[in-house]
Amino acid sequence: MKMQGKVLNEEELLRIHKDSIRILEEVGVKFPSREALSLLEGRGAKVDWDRQVAYIPEVLVKAALQTAPKEFVMGARNPEMDLALPSGWSVYNMDGCGVNTLDFSTGERRSAVLQDVADSARVFEEIGLCNVYWPPVSPSDVQNESGGVVRTGISYINTSKHVMDEVKKKEEVPYLIEMCKAMAGGLEEAKERKLYSVTYCTVAPLCHDEAMLEATMELSGFMAPILVYPMPACGTTGPASLYSNIALANAEALSSIVIFQLASPGVPILYGSALGVVNLRSGMFLEGAVETGLQMTATSDLGKYYKLPTMNAGCLTDAKEPGMQAVLEKVLTTLPLVLVDTDVIQGIGLIESSMTLSLEQMIIDGEIANLCKRIKDGVKVSDELDFYEDIKAVGQGGHFLKQKNTRAAFRTDEFYQAALCDRNSYDSWIDLGKPEMFGLAHKKVQEILEGEMKNPMPEQTEKQIREIMDEADRKLNEKL
């Protein structure tokens, strides 16, 4: 069987669900949007208009969970890269909105620029198990108001995989839809293909952000999948037990699902989470902590409980540079998610609490993903792999090297061949110039960036995408 993990049992899942409902009904959630509050009130939620707080009854949650589809396909510009959810195994994306990049040439940490989005998208294109590209950095060299649209466009041009991003305000939405139309061929095709999905963060505790809420509601009409992504941290923006912090995050997630299902019934939802703990002295959010990973794994269980596709933050580290701490924390925040069948793990390539992009780390994390998958796949006990006849043939002493099964099996996924782990003898390792993980990853990135672009966008489409980006640059920054 495949290796299975579970953090919460049925009884605990139900208890947390009930806790979250109690929070929604008795404490309420702040929606600083007339549009959202009217919708909620119209469907039976009690609304305190002065405080902009809605008290959401369980029946609205149940209805929302019913209209949210249990399976859907996140389309990619290259249909071979389409991602059907639930995926059946864990795939990966990138986590958005860092601000720095470890420069590929100098290794120095510097402000992120648009070229970093292009480069990381190209690297992403060539990493297996990676399906969803969220531009990992906010470039500092683009105009503020149109920056989101521009980095999304650059992403589409440089990777043929599915693209996800945030929308910060309503005005961005038409440009995103135009891009999808340009790639899919028309509005209906674009709605159907779902080439774009959106991350939606609540503001813990129990608040929605006006601009992002209204923009995402607007986009929901386009049926773009929405990742609901609460991020309370134990003790600062959330209560100081993992259990209650999870209940709070779940309440925020459910409140998001309710509002988007009310705005656009049937809009696809990814149940996500990016909960955390903090540095007990400075209050800084800690991504690489094992308690952070535990909470994400538990919320992945919750998502499955609601039968929704899951996308949870993982492969995380607070290390400031690639190295021992980064690998340690990333493995420990990835493997548990893989074991509980999280559909999409978000995401690879970032260090320093997802503030800094490293192209080399992307390759290293791709390797972590492969190794975790091999563990997940477990020990396959099957007739095909029952090699009793070999044991009988070899008998006592001797070796299995000449068995047909051995020769065949060495070329299957029964044995994963790690690309970045050195498995040479000591002397060979010296002779090879002491290869180490980072150096090998650096070389791989170089090959990708110097090589030909895989699955390039048709010239005509690229022209259209660039025109949309230019128009966004002109129009969205007008007010400034």
Binding site: C97, V99, N144, G147, D209, A211, T236, T237, S282, M284
Partner: protein, 215 residues
Amino acid sequence: MEAELFEAMRNSILDGDEELAAELAESVLAENLDLNEAMNEGFLKGIREAGDLYQAGEYFLPELVCAADAIKAALEILTPALKKSSGGAGISKGRVVIATVEGDVHDIGKKIVAAMLTAAGYDVYDMGVDVPADRILQAVSERKPDVLGLSALLTTTMQEQKNVISLLEKEELRDQVKVIVGGAPVSSRWAELIHADGYSDNAADAVKLVARLLG
């Protein structure tokens, strides 16, 4: 008797007990105790010790924040009397106004800096979150702080720090106040770019920064 009372004041701060601190402050007034002594031997002693314990790694963040709020509760009651008394003028090392800029509702980082500054002896006015630029300008012209702290957690709202500084320049208020910026996406380069006077990436260094700027 008085020594015991001062000890209780110190402990109320160390325990982060707002109600007790306020009660004890009331008793200072009711019993006509020496204000400076009550501050120096009681409340201020407590907050200084809380700050030291935090620096030494003994206190975690919640203890520090509670201690800062406790002394605030005491100061609210004692400030009018302190202003009148002759020796009480020097209780504050300087005035700080701090706010999270408009469009951004992130509170924690700013709160920690405010607590640390309070613990270090500064008079801190925390304007809260999502504060529009015109209100910040108003606070600067009315309260005349020595330092203005601007917090932003989002790459989009960072721009508002720049906006506030430009407006301060336009309104000719810029020279009267030192501006410091902070927040996860903010950097010293960004601070330079927008003509802020300083940046730090953690609260303890923010206190050192303020001391340096006012030194």
